[in-house]
Symmetry: D2
Subunit: 245 residues, 4 copies
C-alpha cells in the first residue's frame, strides 16, 4: 500500500476554517466536532493550518448587516469571525440536526456570511470566489442530506466552489439513540467504524484540498463573465437576449 | 467596453449537455428552456458544443438499475442518455417548479444519474468526477432556491464540481402569473429584463466554463484520497481514527 | 390493559386510500408497502375500507391537466385514480427515499393532485377540504423527515387536514444497508422491532382516524372564510386591509 | 353580500399566540409582522385573544433543555414563552426568508418547542395535541413554500394539527426588491393588493379558527392510540406486527 505522506503535492500553504454550529458551548463535548476532527486530522497531516471555531461560544448578533453594533446591538463577534473566514482558503461548516434541520446557530452563521456576499475580492468578484466549501453533519436520527443540501446550496450561491462529495455525516437508525462518537456497551464508539461515514469524510477532505490547490495555483477563480461592476457598467459577456440591455 | 469575443481562453473543445425536465413534450414551448437558451447562447458563442435534451420526450423507466429493460420494462432510453452525459464536460439541469418542488421528470433524471454513481472513470474515481454541474429553474410563483438546492446537492454528491453561483432562475411575484418569457401586454416578455435573473444566468454560465476549463487542463479531478478501490483495498489516506481500520 | 377492540367509537364508515410511490412495480416486494401495511392493518381492524394502490403500476402522464389524453398523451390513468382519491376520507402517501428526496413517482402523484386542487367540493371549498392526510417513508439511509416535509406540505396546501404526528418511517444507520423488512442474519426483519417506527406508525394511524371521524361527524370542514367563489364575488370575511378590495 | 360578523359560531373563548421570528428587534418595523397583522385582525374581529411576540426581543438560549439557566446560561426567556404557548389554542409562526430558508430565530423557537415535545398534556398525549398551527412567511425574493414546509412539518410532528391551507405569504419577483408592505412610488404598498397573498392569509386564518373550535368542542384531540405511557406499558392499539412486542 502506498504511503499517503508520499503524495507529491504540497498543501502546506493552505488555510482552513472549520465552523462548528453545535448548540453546545465549549468546553463540553460536541459530537459534530468529533467527526469534524477526522477531516481536520487529514488536513493537518498535509501541513494545512486548520482552525476550529465553535460558533455558539461567540455572540453573533441577529441581523444581516456587516456589524450589528452599528445597529443597536451591544456586542457582535461577527466582524472578527468574518476576517478569519476571508483569510481561509477552505470553509467547512459542521451542523447537528434538530427535527431534520440544521441548527439555529448554523443558520445564524449563514445569515451573516450571506450578508457580506456582495463584498468584492481583489479581482472584483464576489468575496468568496476562489474559496472552497464543505459540510459535515451528525445527529442521532435523520437528516444529514437535508442539512447538507441547505448548507452547500448557501455556500455555492455566495461564491464558494463545491468539489465532488463535499458532504459527509453520520446518523444512527431511525429514532433516539447514540450520537456520533458516544461510547457503546461493547467498547466501540458510535459511527467510528461506519465505512460510509469515514470514507465520505476522507474523500470530502481530499477533494477540498485538491480544489483549493487548483484555485490557489490559478491565482484566483478565473475572471471573466463574473465581475459585478463590469456587469453594472453594461458589459454583457455574450449574453444573447435582445430585450436585456 | 471590452469585446467579449476577445477573451483569450479557448473553450471550443468543451462539450455541454443541457437536460430540460419540463413536463411539456416537444415541440411545445418550455419556459424553462427559454431561459436555458441564454446559457446555451453564451456557451455557443465560445465554441462549446451544446446539446439540449427534453427529458420528457424520452422514456426513462422508473428504477435505479443501469438498464431497466433487463428488469421487466419494455423500453428504457436511459442508457443512451447516460452515454451522452458521460461524454459531456458540463451538465446543466433545468427544472420547472410544481408546488415548490422540482418536477417529477427532474427527479427521474436524478434517480437514474444516481444509480450509475458507483461507476468509475478512467482514474478510478466515481464516474462524474471531473465534470461540472449547474441548474436553471423557472416557475410563475416560488421555489427557485429550493429546487436548486435539491438539484445541486445531488450533482455534487455524485461527483460533479459546483462552481460559484451555479444556480439561476426566474419567478414572478407570489401567486399565479406569467411564466418566464410569456409575452406581456406592453410587448415585453416576463423575466427578460430581470437583472437578477440575467446576471445570475450569465455568471453561472461563465463559472461553469471556467471550472470545466480548469479541470480539463488538469487532466481530470486530481486523484488522491478519492479512489474507491484504493479505499476498499485498505488505503486510508491519512485518516486519523484509531477505531477505523 | 384495555382491549383495543373495545374502543367505543365506530370508524367502519370511513374509506382510506394508500398510494405507494415505490419505483418497483407489482408484484415485486416494496419495502415501503411493508410499513404501510402496519397502518392498513390497524385501520382494517376498525372496519375501515382501505385500498392500496401502487402508482408505478399505473400510467400517470406527465403534466398538470385533469386528463392528459386531451393534451396529446395516448393513455392517462390519473382520472380514474383521482375519482378514487375523491371518494376516500383519508389519503396516506408512501414514498421511498432516493438521494434524500421523495421518489419521482411520488412527485408525479403530487403534481396530479395539485392540478385538481382548484376543483370545488359540495360546499364550494377546494376539493380536498374535509379529507385527512398522512405520510409513510422508508429508505436504507437518510431522509424520512425531508420527504415527509415535502409530502405533508403539499397535502395541507391543497386542502387536506394534517393531524398530529402524521409522518412515520424507517431508515437504518448512515450508509448502505438493509431496507425496511429485509430478513436479517439473526432471523429478525429490519425495522420491525424499532419502537420509534412502530409507535409513530400506530399513533399516526389513530390520529388520521380520529381526525377523519371528527370531520365526517361535522358534515364537512367548516364553511366560512374559505370559499373561493365567495371571495371572488367580493366577500372579505373580516379581512382588515384597507388597500385590499 | 353577507355580513361576516353574522357568522353564527362563537370563537371568543379562543386564545392565539403569534410568534414573529424576524431578525429585527422591536420597535423597528417587521415586514413579516405586517402580514401577520392581517390574520390577527381577522381573529380579533371574532373576539379571539391574540398576543403577538417578537422572538428576537427575548433571549432564547441555545440548547434543547427546558430551562437553559440550569445548564450554564445566565438568562433564558424560553420557560416564560413556553407557558404562553401552552396556554394558547392556536400558534402562528411568522418567518422572514434568508437565502431560501427560515430565519435563525425561527429555528431557535422550533428547537425549543421540540425540546418540550415529550411533555404530556392532561390526557396523557404529547403536550401540543389539541392545538392548531399555521405559518406566515414574507421575503423580497423566493422561498415562502420552502420555509412553510419546514415550519409546518415541525409543528405537526410535535403534535399540532394543521388545517387546510395553513401557509400564507408574500414575495416579489425574483431578485432584490421591496419587502411586504413597503411604500411604493405609486402610493400603494408592496403585496397589499396581491389577491393570492390576501386570500391565502384569510382562508388560513379561518381554517385555524374552525379547527381550534372543533378540537376545543371535542374537549381535546381524541384519545386512543396516541398515549405514550400506554404504549410504553405495552398497549399496542391493534398494531398487527408479529415481531413487534
Amino acid at each position: 500500500m502506498s504511503n499517503p505522506s508520499s503524495h507529491p503535492v504540497n498543501y502546506d500553504d493552505l488555510h482552513a476554517i472549520f465552523i462548528n454550529t453545535s448548540l453546545t458551548p465549549s468546553p463540553r463535548l460536541s459530537h459534530t466536532e468529533t467527526l469534524m476532527k477526522v477531516a481536520q486530522g487529514i488536513m493537518e497531516a498535509q501541513g494545512v493550518a486548520v482552525e476550529m471555531v465553535r460558533a455558539v461560544d461567540l455572540e453573533l448578533a441577529p441581523g444581516v448587516q456587516a456589524d450589528m453594533t452599528e445597529h443597536g446591538f451591544e456586542r457582535d463577534d461577527w466582524p472578527a469571525l468574518y476576517a478569519r473566514v476571508k483569510a481561509a482558503d477552505i470553509l467547512v461548516i459542521g451542523s447537528p440536526i434538530w427535527l431534520g434541520e440544521r441548527s439555529s446557530v448554523c443558520s445564524s452563521v449563514i445569515e451573516r456570511l450571506y450578508a457580506q456576499s456582495a463584498d468584492l475580492n481583489d479581482q472584483g468578484q464576489y468575496v468568496y470566489y476562489g474559496k472552497v466549501g464543505g459540510c459535515i453533519v451528525t445527529g442521532n436520527e435523520d437528516g444529514v442530506k437535508h442539512v447538507a443540501m441547505s448548507v452547500l446550496y448557501a455556500l455555492q450561491h455566495i461564491g464558494y466552489t463545491i468539489p465532488p462529495g463535499a458532504d459527509a455525516g453520520w446518523i444512527g437508525e431511525a429514532g433516539p439513540g447514540p450520537s456520533y462518537g458516544d461510547a457503546q456497551e461493547d467498547g466501540t464508539h458510535a459511527g467510528f467504524a461506519n465505512a460510509f461515514t469515514q470514507k465520505n469524510t476522507t474523500f470530502m477532505t481530499w477533494n477540498l484540498l485538491h480544489m483549493a490547490r487548483l484555485l490557489k495555483d490559478a491565482g484566483c477563480f478565473p475572471t471573466h463573465g463574473n465581475q459585478p461592476e463590469a456587469w453594472d457598467a453594461g458589459e454583457r459577456f455574450d449574453h444573447p437576449n435582445p430585450e436585456y440591455r
